[in-house]
C-alpha cells in the first residue's frame, strides 16, 4: 500500500512539471502581453510596457524565466500578479482568498450529490422497472443533460427573480467574511446565498450518483450471495441494506474523481453567474487580463487538487474493497 502510494506520487511529479512547463511556455508564446491593454482600448506607450516587462523579468529569455519561476514555485511562492487591477499583489494571497470560497461551494455540492443521489439510486433499484424507477432515471438523465450554464440562470430566474425567495447578490460580502468568521456558516445570510449555486453545481452530481448507485445495486442484487441471503429467510430490508448496498456502494466511490473535475469545471461558470469571489472567477479573469503568474498558479493548484483527488480515490478503493490490490 505504502509502496503504491509512493509510486503514484512519483509518477505525478513529471506530470505536474509538464503541466507547468506547457502552461508557462504557451501563455508566454501567445502574442500580446499583460501590459498591452490599458482598458477602453487605449494603447500603453511602448516605453511603459518595456519598463514593466523589465520590472517583472518578462524581458529575460523564456528558459531563464521558467527556471527562476520553478525555483520560486518549489518554495510555494507563485510570484506577483501581473493583472491590471491586482498588479504586484502576491498570487498566493489571491489564491488564499479565492480557494476557500470555491472549496465551500464544491464540498457542499458534492455532499448534496451524495445525500440525494444515493437514496434516489437505491429507491430506483429496489423498485426496478416501476414508475419510481422510471422517474428517478428520468431525473438522472435530465440532470446529466442540462449544463450548469443553463441550470444556474434558470434557478436564479425561478427562485430569486420570480419567487423572490433567495438573494443573488452578495451585498454584505458574506462569502469572503466566512474566511475570518466561521460562525457565519450557520446564519441565514450565508445559507440563503449558498443554496442556488450549490444546487446548480450539485444537480449534475445527483444525476451521476443516482445512475451509478442504481446500476451497481441492480448488478449486486443478481449475485449468488444475495440469493443465499434471501434463501435463508432474511428480511428484504436486511438483504438490501446489509448485504447489497454495502457492496454496491464501492463503485460509487470512484465517481469522486470525475466529481472533482466537475467541481472545477463548474466553478468557472457558477462563480461567474452567481458572482462568487472564488478561484474559478480569478482564473477566468486572469485569462482575459493575461495575468501570467496568476494563470499558471491557478492551473497548478487545480492540477494538484485533481491528481491528489484521483490518487485518494484509488487508495480509498483498495480500503473499501480488500479484493482489489494495486501493486
Amino acid at each position: 500500500m505504502g509502496k503504491y502510494l509512493i509510486r503514484r506520487i512519483l509518477v505525478a511529479i513529471p506530470v505536474l512539471l509538464a503541466i507547468i512547463f506547457f502552461t508557462f511556455v504557451v501563455i508566454r508564446a501567445t502574442p500580446g502581453g499583460p501590459f498591452d491593454v490599458a482598458g477602453e482600448g487605449r494603447r500603453v506607450p511602448q516605453s511603459v510596457i518595456d519598463g514593466l516587462n523589465r520590472q517583472y523579468g518578462l524581458d529575460q529569455p523564456i528558459l531563464t524565466q521558467f527556471i527562476s519561476y520553478l525555483g520560486s514555485v518549489l518554495q510555494l511562492d507563485f510570484g506577483p500578479s501581473l493583472g491590471r487591477s491586482t498588479l504586484g499583489q502576491p498570487v498566493n494571497d489571491i489564491i488564499a482568498r479565492g480557494l476557500p470560497v470555491s472549496m465551500q461551494v464544491g464540498v457542499m455540492a458534492v455532499v448534496f450529490g451524495f445525500v440525494i443521489g444515493i437514496p434516489l439510486g437505491v429507491l430506483a433499484a429496489i423498485h426496478h422497472n416501476t414508475i419510481i424507477d422510471y422517474g428517478a432515471t428520468f431525473i438522472a438523465v435530465v440532470g446529466t443533460s442540462v449544463p450548469s450554464l443553463v441550470i444556474g440562470p434558470l434557478l436564479i430566474i425561478i427562485f430569486a427573480v420570480g419567487l423572490n425567495w433567495l438573494p443573488v447578490a452578495d451585498v454584505n460580502g458574506v462569502w469572503r467574511s466566512t474566511l475570518t468568521n466561521p460562525g457565519l456558516f450557520f446564519t441565514w445570510d450565508y445559507i440563503s446565498l449558498a443554496i442556488l449555486p450549490v444546487g446548480a453545481l450539485g444537480i449534475g452530481m445527483v444525476a451521476g450518483i443516482t445512475r451509478l448507485t442504481r446500476a451497481s445495486l441492480l448488478q449486486v442484487m443478481r449475485e449468488d450471495y444475495i440469493r443465499t441471503a434471501r434463501a435463508k429467510g432474511l428480511k428484504e430490508r436486511t438483504v438490501i441494506y446489509r448485504h447489497s448496498l454495502k457492496n454496491a456502494l464501492i463503485p460509487v466511490a470512484t465517481i469522486l474523481g470525475p466529481l472533482l473535475a466537475g467541481v472545477l469545471t463548474g466553478s468557472f461558470i457558477i462563480e461567474r453567474i452567481f458572482n462568487i469571489p472564488g478561484i474559478g472567477g480569478e482564473f477566468v479573469k486572469s485569462v482575459s487580463s493575461r495575468d501570467y503568474n496568476l494563470l499558471v498558479g491557478v492551473t497548478i493548484i487545480y492540477s494538484v487538487l485533481l491528481i491528489a483527488g484521483n490518487i485518494m480515490v484509488d487508495v480509498m478503493y483498495t480500503w473499501l474493497d480488500p479484493r482489489i490490490r494495486f501493486d
Binding site: 506530470v15 472545477l264 485533481l306
Partner: protein, 347 residues
C-alpha cells in the same frame, strides 16, 4: 446402410420460414423499438436538417442572416416586426423587412435565426469532436493492443501520462493562445497565419475542434486497446491466422467489427460533453468568434444583457435548445448501448 435423408430438407424448409437476420439488423430493430431513442433520433435529425439548410432558409427569407442588425429593433419583443425606419430618407417609412418570431437581441438581430445558426455550431462540434476522438483513439488503441510488446508499452506510457493531466485548464490556455494568434494576426507568419486564416473562414470553429479533439481520444484509446486485447486471443482470430490471414485482414475484418460497437456507444455518450465544453468556452469568451452564434454564446450574451431579470426569453430559448439536444444525444446513446449489447439493457 440406408441413410435417412429426410432430415436435410426439413432444415432447409425452416430456413425459408425464418429469413436470417444479421446481428446488425437485430440491433437496429432493438434500437427502433426503443421509444426514447426514436424520439431522440427524430430530434437530432430535425436539428441536422435545420443546420444544413440554414443558408437555404435564409435565401428563401424564412430566417434572417445571423449578423444582420435591424436598427430600431434593439430588444424587440417576440412576434413583432422590424422597424428599420426610413433609410432612403423620402419621408415615408420603409416597408417591413423582417418579423421576429422570438424577438431580437440588443443589437437588433433576430433571435430565431441565431438559434438556428447556433444549431450548426453545436452539431458540428458534436460530429467533428466525436469523429476526431473516435478515429485517433481507435487507431492508437488498436495499434497498441494488436502489436503489443514494446510498442504497446511505450504507447500506453504516453497515454497514462496524458491521462493524469487535467485537460480543462490546458484547453482554456490553448484557446487563449489561439485567440492571441487571431487578435495579433499581423505578428504571426507561416503555419500560424495559415491556421488563423482557416479559423477565420470557419468563424472560430477550427481551433475549437483542435482543442476538443485533444480532450477525449485518450479514454477512447484505452478502451480500444482493452477491446483488442480481449478479442485477439479468441479462436476466430486464431482460425483466421491459421488459414493465412495477414495482420491487416485480421484487424479490419475480424477485430474492428467486433470492437467498434462499444466505442461508438462511448462516443455517443461523450457528445453532450463536447457540446457542454463549447458552451463553456463560449461563456468564457473563448469559443466561436462573434458574430457567429452558438447556443453557449447566445446564453452568455443574454446573461450579459441582463436577461436573467428582463426578457428572459433571450436566455431561455437557446438554453432550451441546448438542453433538448444534449438530452437527445444522451437518450440516443443509451438506446444504442442497449441495442448493441442487450445484456446491458435496463441498467
Amino acid at each position: 446402410m440406408a441413410v435417412s435423408d429426410s432430415a436435410k430438407p426439413l432444415v432447409l424448409a425452416e430456413e425459408e420460414h425464418y429469413p436470417s437476420r444479421s446481428l446488425f439488423q437485430d440491433s437496429m430493430r432493438r434500437l427502433f423499438r426503443n421509444r426514447a431513442a426514436v424520439v431522440s433520433i427524430v430530434i437530432i435529425g430535425f436539428l441536422a436538417v435545420l443546420a444544413l439548410t440554414a443558408d437555404i432558409l435564409q435565401g428563401a427569407g424564412v430566417i434572417d442572416n445571423y449578423a444582420t442588425q435591424h436598427r430600431g429593433s434593439s430588444l424587440a419583443e417576440p412576434l413583432t416586426c422590424a422597424v428599420d425606419g426610413d433609410k432612403d430618407g423620402d419621408g415615408v417609412p420603409d416597408p417591413v423587412q423582417f418579423c421576429f418570431l422570438f424577438g431580437a437581441d440588443r443589437l437588433g438581430r433576430d433571435l430565431f435565426s441565431r438559434v438556428v445558426y447556433g444549431a450548426r455550431v453545436s452539431l458540428l462540434v458534436a460530429v467533428v469532436g466525436a469523429t476526431i476522438s473516435l478515429s485517433i483513439g481507435t487507431v492508437y488503441g488498436v495499434v497498441s493492443g494488436f502489436y503489443g510488446g514494446k510498442i504497446d508499452n511505450g504507447m500506453m506510457r504516453l497515454v497514462d501520462f496524458l491521462y493524469g493531466i487535467p485537460m480543462l485548464p490546458l484547453i482554456i490556455i490553448m484557446q487563449v493562445y489561439f485567440r492571441g494568434l487571431r487578435e495579433h494576426a499581423d505578428q504571426v507568419g507561416g503555419l500560424g497565419l495559415t491556421m488563423v486564416r482557416i479559423d477565420q473562414s470557419m468563424g472560430g470553429l477550427f481551433f475549437l475542434f483542435i482543442a476538443l479533439g485533444l480532450l477525449n481520444w485518450i479514454g477512447m484509446a484505452r478502451m480500444a486497446r482493452g477491446q483488442v486485447l480481449s478479442y485477439k486471443q479468441k479462436e476466430f482470430v486464431e482460425a483466421a491466422r491459421s488459414i493465412g490471414a495477414g495482420d491487416r485482414r485480421i484487424i479490419f475484418t475480424h477485430l474492428l467489427p467486433n470492437i467498434i460497437g462499444p466505442l461508438i456507444v462511448a462516443e455517443a455518450l461523450a457528445i453532450p460533453g463536447y457540446i457542454f465544453t463549447e458552451a463553456m468556452l463560449s461563456f468564457l469568451g473563448l469559443g466561436v468568434n462573434p458574430p457567429t452564434p452558438s447556443w453557449g454564446a447566445l446564453i452568455t450574451n443574454a446573461i450579459d444583457e441582463g436577461a436573467i431579470k428582463f426578457r428572459t426569453h433571450l436566455l431561455l430559448i437557446p438554453a432550451f435548445a441546448l438542453s433538448v439536444t444534449t438530452l437527445a444525444f444522451n437518450f440516443f446513446g443509451d438506446g444504442l448501448r442497449d441495442a448493441l449489447d442487450p445484456r446491458m439493457a435496463g441498467e
